[in-house]
């Protein structure tokens, strides 16, 4: 560690390239905190948006017209409005309406970011799931029904596993988008990667350096997601289906 710090200090002295996050412990801890917050925000939104998206897709196929319309309305609302406006709406319009607990807001900026981004991504995930569900051949459902499966069993044991496989490539895109969209949380002062980097570069005046670090950081995070999804896709691949 010390060698790395020394090398970056030497780099700064000889070339002027100023990467304080490698040798200034305060900057390093701020950067790592931002990195961790971005990962946390992404992970929460990823899991919650997949669950909510699947649930919404299920509601879109409901027998009750009002339920179908409500689910569709949710999807349209969040797909057709700018994400930043949504985030501002939650934080600045809904935020102040919440009761305060001991003088502190019930929900901080991170909480609002999780809610806002989850709803946004769930709307897209619902559309992807819906397409996947519609891609499951009617004959498969007929086969499952004729074996005495209940409606829930048909969905859980046949429709969902097959739909999931069809949706994998589109879902990967969606998750990548989600990670990139977390940078919007900057606008409501969530201490995520972009926000913390901006704090560092405004003090150290090393904007170009921190920009490069930021880009590389996101390439790394997205790269990991791509790898995991590719691995998952390969694992779930079955001969003669969806190829």
């Amino acid at each position: 560690m010390d060698d790395i710090a020394a090398w970056f200090r030497w780099l700064h002295q000889t070339s002027g390239i100023k990467l304080t996050i490698f040798y200034d412990s305060y900057d390093r801890s701020r950067f790592l905190e931002g990195f961790a917050t971005t990962l946390k925000l992404s992970a929460y939104c990823l899991i919650l948006s997949l669950l909510l998206g699947a649930f919404t897709a299920w509601l879109c196929g409901s027998k009750i017209a009002a339920v179908r319309r409500a689910a569709n309305g949710f999807v349209q609302l969040f797909r057709n409005t700018p994400p930043l406006v949504q985030l501002y709406f939650f934080y600045f319009a809904l935020g102040p309406l919440l009761p305060k607990v001991g003088g502190m807001p019930l929900l901080g900026s991170l909480g609002w970011a999780v809610i806002s981004l989850t709803l946004l991504e769930a709307a897209f995930a619902a559309e992807i799931f819906r397409a996947g569900i519609e891609a499951v051949p009617r004959a498969m459902i007929e086969a499952a029904e004729s074996l005495g499966y209940s409606r829930a069993q048909v969905f859980r044991l046949v429709v969902l596993p097959l739909a999931l496989r069809v949706t994998m490539p589109a879902m990967t895109n969606n998750l990548v988008n989600l990670v990139k969209t977390t940078t919007l949380a900057y606008a409501i002062a969530v201490p995520e990667l972009l926000y913390m980097s901006a704090q560092i570069w405004s003090e150290q005046v090393n904007v170009p350096e921190m920009m490069v670090v930021l880009l590389i950081s996101y390439v790394a995070i997205v790269g990991i997601i791509n790898q995991v999804m590719q691995w998952l896709e390969a694992r779930l691949r079955v001969p003669g289906f969806g190829q």
Binding site: E145, L147, G148, Y149, P239
Partner: protein
């Protein structure tokens, strides 16, 4: 199933009375009646589009009838509304489809085991032992871990038959199960079905295999345009058909 038929009086286990079904403006079934006794095999033959597959789907409730009555054992299929009643019916009636319709994400063994575990709530050990037995019966021992996509059409169809048998149904429905197969693999499937019929499995087969129908059926029904034109034993229907329409059809296909 095996010894139930010996002392039981001969009553039709499947009885269809004046069944009508339309899809939009198209009348597919226009008053069909037929009866199948326990342990018998009945073949339904006729030109494409004469409503044969629809008829089979009315028997296990996949398609609700518009008018008429369908009885399977104690189930009055035309009256079933609740999901639970429908599930009870389907535990008694299994169907094998033209396109096999195996679950592509499950191996041959898993395809057979799923419904007995999930629907009949049988223990995994018991079901697995029986699944191995059934695969042996359809002569696919060794293919337990193959996915449907790795099997030939004939092999997939035999797995589908094993999957249907795993439910220990009282009645088996076969919907043109060899129509998608080449002549060679067709034979392996027909051999399997013949064995079942010889063991006394009550079967209703929609088929274009005239020679096979003639050989194994107790009764043959000839349908056209949603009605039964003629019925009789294979010897009667194939040997000396009474109706002009039947004669014309048989001349075409034989």
């Amino acid at each position: 199933m095996s010894d139930a038929g010996l002392d039981a009086p001969i009553v039709p286990i499947v009885r269809i009375v004046d069944v009508h079904k339309s899809f939009g403006a198209v009348e597919v079934l226009r008053g069909i009646s037929l009866a199948v006794n326990r342990g018998e095999a009945v073949c339904v033959i006729g030109p494409s589009g004469s409503g044969k597959s629809t008829l089979l789907r009315c028997i296990n409730g996949l398609i609700p009838v518009d008018r008429g009555e369908v009885f399977v054992g104690a189930h009055a299929v035309h009256k079933l509304r609740a999901d639970q009643e429908m599930i009870a019916l389907r535990k008694d009636v299994s169907i094998v489809f033209q396109q096999y319709n195996l679950f592509p994400h499950k191996t041959a063994l898993e395809n057979i085991m799923m419904a007995p575990i999930q629907v009949l709530k049988q223990s995994k050990e018991e079901v697995e032992a029986r699944a191995h037995e059934l695969l042996k019966k359809v002569r696919l021992a060794g293919k337990e871990n193959s996915y449907p996509g790795e099997l030939s059409g004939g092999q997939q169809q035999r797995v589908a038959i094993a999957r249907a048998l795993a439910m220990r149904p009282s009645v088996m429905l076969f919907d043109e199960v060899t129509a998608a197969l080449d002549p060679e693999t067709r034979k392996e499937v027909l051999v399997t079905i013949r064995q079942l019929v010889e063991e006394g499995m009550t079967s209703i087969l929609v088929t274009h295999e005239m020679a096979f129908a003639r050989e194994i059926a107790h009764n043959v029904y000839f349908t056209d345009h949603g009605v039964i034109v003629e019925e009789g034993t294979p010897a009667q229907l194939f040997g000396s058909p009474q109706k002009e329409r039947t004669r014309a059809f048989l001349e075409q296909v034989l």
